[in-house]
Amino acid sequence: MANVTAEQAATIKEIVCEILELEEDEVTGESLFREDHGADSLRAIEILASLEKEFKVTIDQAELSRMVNLNGVYEVLAESAGW
């Protein structure tokens, strides 16, 4: 598990669910944004941009390829933010 606090994880999940228009209980750490939730590349960029804004970090766009599910997002964000 990536180095994120429960509070950070909750905020991240909230942002992701808001953008993907999902209820929080529909998304697990492993469920895939594209395959399981019908997201496309634009939604992925929206997630990245919203996280950058919320956590005041810069995430390299190349990391999008890892941000395929919540666990991937936790990892990338923790690394980018240096948590």
Partner: protein, 414 residues
Amino acid sequence: MTTNPAGGVHDAARRVVLTGFGVFSSIGVGAAEFAEGLRSGRSGAKPITVFDTEGFEHTNGCEIRGFEPERWIRNLDAAQLGRASQFSVAAARMAVQDAGLDPADLREQRGLISIGTTDGESWDLDRLVASQLAKGSAEMDRSIAGRIRAGRLSASIAQELGLTDVEAVTIPTACAAGNYAIGYGFDAVRSGEADYALCGGADAMCRKTFAGFYRLGTIAPERCQPFDIDRKGLLTGEGAGVLLLETLESALARGARIYAEVLGYGLNCDADHQVAPLESSVARCMELALENAGVKPEEVDLISAHGTGTKANDVTESRAIRSVYGTTPPRTVSVKSMLGHTMGAASALAAIACSLAITHGFIPPTINHASTDPECEIDCVPNEAVEADLRIVQNNGLAFGGNNAVVLLGRYEA
């Protein structure tokens, strides 16, 4: 060589030719300078100054420096027009002049003005929003607010030139809009509904679109390298291209210089994805254009690609071309390597580039090219223009939302 006119239409009253061009681009103003820029492979890339680029790591664009709208706009107050309208109006006056016409000649005829755009007056909108954020809504500039509507891009041309018997439309089909506008003008003149048409596209660079493309990861750090293995995206650009369309009969009667003939066009919209092009629908659009023009693929000598220099466009477009043209497609160039992506003006400027290529017998190069992406299996005429006898040229315009428009142009043959 066949003596039949390309496209097989013989009636001079129903053939549509291009007799005047108005050009504002980062590589040249006016048809002559533009042709010289295309032939020499000039680059319009430079640091952006038309809006604040603070916070962006890469800040190159293809802007127009030293634009003097008042040299072209005489009846309207140029300072009261948005920058995109200044470009469209100035280019329209230039096109009329280039055609050897006086606006008074056009006033007596029925006309069409169709101008494509992506952003309309978004440069003004940027400034309006910035002022609203800084000082509140009450301080927003009324005169700027009043000129935001994209309809001004075409209506202002009618006002400036005093053309009252015209339909003036602005076509907002994003990055394919210039070709849409030409297609509309072609139909109007060919059908006899209009005696002439002023068609094209105009856009002014703005922060909104720069930021949007930047966030999509599509802005190149320094230069635009279409079809190159190391391509890193597009550069935003600005300007206008306006073409004067009239019947062959009318052009011959007044002894006008004919740059090229409009042979036909194709449009489609797949609405498959907001930003990703769909190969099958891009191919279908080219087929529609060829069919409309009565041209066979093997008769086409050159393709001016949409060629943005993004990963997605260049691969998809090359594949679509090969699906229509087979394994030996015509040479396929991207003038965006020089001009940047001028948005709604892009396919209008490219149509002018195609016509000038036909007129002057050369193929404009795809500059900034080192090594072709093996996934883009086309000859993009790297870096140096080549001499070529061109009879039929295809001009591609592909836009977000799957809005595609393809125009076919031919050398005028009696």
